[in-house]
Amino acid sequence: MRLVCFLFGLGFLGFVSHSAAQSSFPFQSAPTFDRPGVADAPYSPKKGSFQLELGSGWSGGFRDAKPVNPALLLRYGQTSRFEWRAQWNYAPPLSALDDYLTQNQTQLVAFVARCVVVKRRV
């Protein structure tokens, strides 16, 4: 089970970045994975598109690795500038912060409305 979580879980340590680095404009045609709360992707899914992001990780190196709780993110592009998000088990760094503050294991559920307010070429 740990292995399954390890491989397919989600831990939103995604990478916004890379999609942004994928070739030239427009990037909206490509998935834009991110690490919510740490480094969100600058692009939203295409209008009418659902995007599913699933991931996990490990902490502590290879020999004493401890799996990071998997996480899941569902995104929907309602317009070219507005998206809805629903995510379970927030980004590990942020949940880790919650743990640090409360000393408890914290499962997070988040609902997000996201709006691109400026979109321009330079």
């Binding site: 340590l13 999609s19 994928q22 709360g37 991931g55 760094p93 912060l97 997070l108 988040a110």
Partner: protein, 133 residues
């Protein structure tokens, strides 16, 4: 190109079962020459037991030759020194398996918080349900 994104969040925890606040921050991206780009995330977050807003920030440098592969390096941090602060970094590579459909990312990260060295694997899939794809 530059985007500015307002990204408010609403969160609750399983353990406390009540709204806990959220984050509000800006996301920007800038394309540079030679396949380089820079992402930034800056804002404020409200956490379960935090008495005040906590600053959040991240900066990522990406590079891609224009093909399916890309590389990135990132530094991030939140909180303030002496009050639940956490700093970290990560770097990794990404591969677009099927353009507009699936993507996989693998990275290595480290921080002075709970994530002390470790890897992250992320798989994504997207589907367009609109009539005109």
């Amino acid at each position: 190109m530059a985007n500015v994104v307002v990204d408010p969040r609403y969160k609750r925890t399983q353990s406390q079962g009540m709204p806990l606040g959220g984050d509000l921050y800006l996301v920007t991206m800038h394309n540079l020459p030679f396949g380089l780009s820079i992402n930034t995330n800056w804002g404020l977050g409200l956490f379960p037991s935090s008495p005040s807003l906590i600053p959040l920030g991240a900066m990522t440098v990406n590079w891609s030759s224009g093909g399916s592969w890309g590389f990135f390096g990132e530094v991030f941090g939140f909180g303030v020194k002496g009050h639940a602060g956490q700093r970290g970094w990560d770097m990794g590579l990404t591969c677009l398996l099927n353009e507009d459909k699936s993507q996989i990312d693998l990275s290595w990260m480290d921080s002075d918080g709970a994530q002390k060295g470790g890897g992250v694997l992320l798989v994504g899939y997207s589907r367009n349900f609109s009539k005109r794809s």
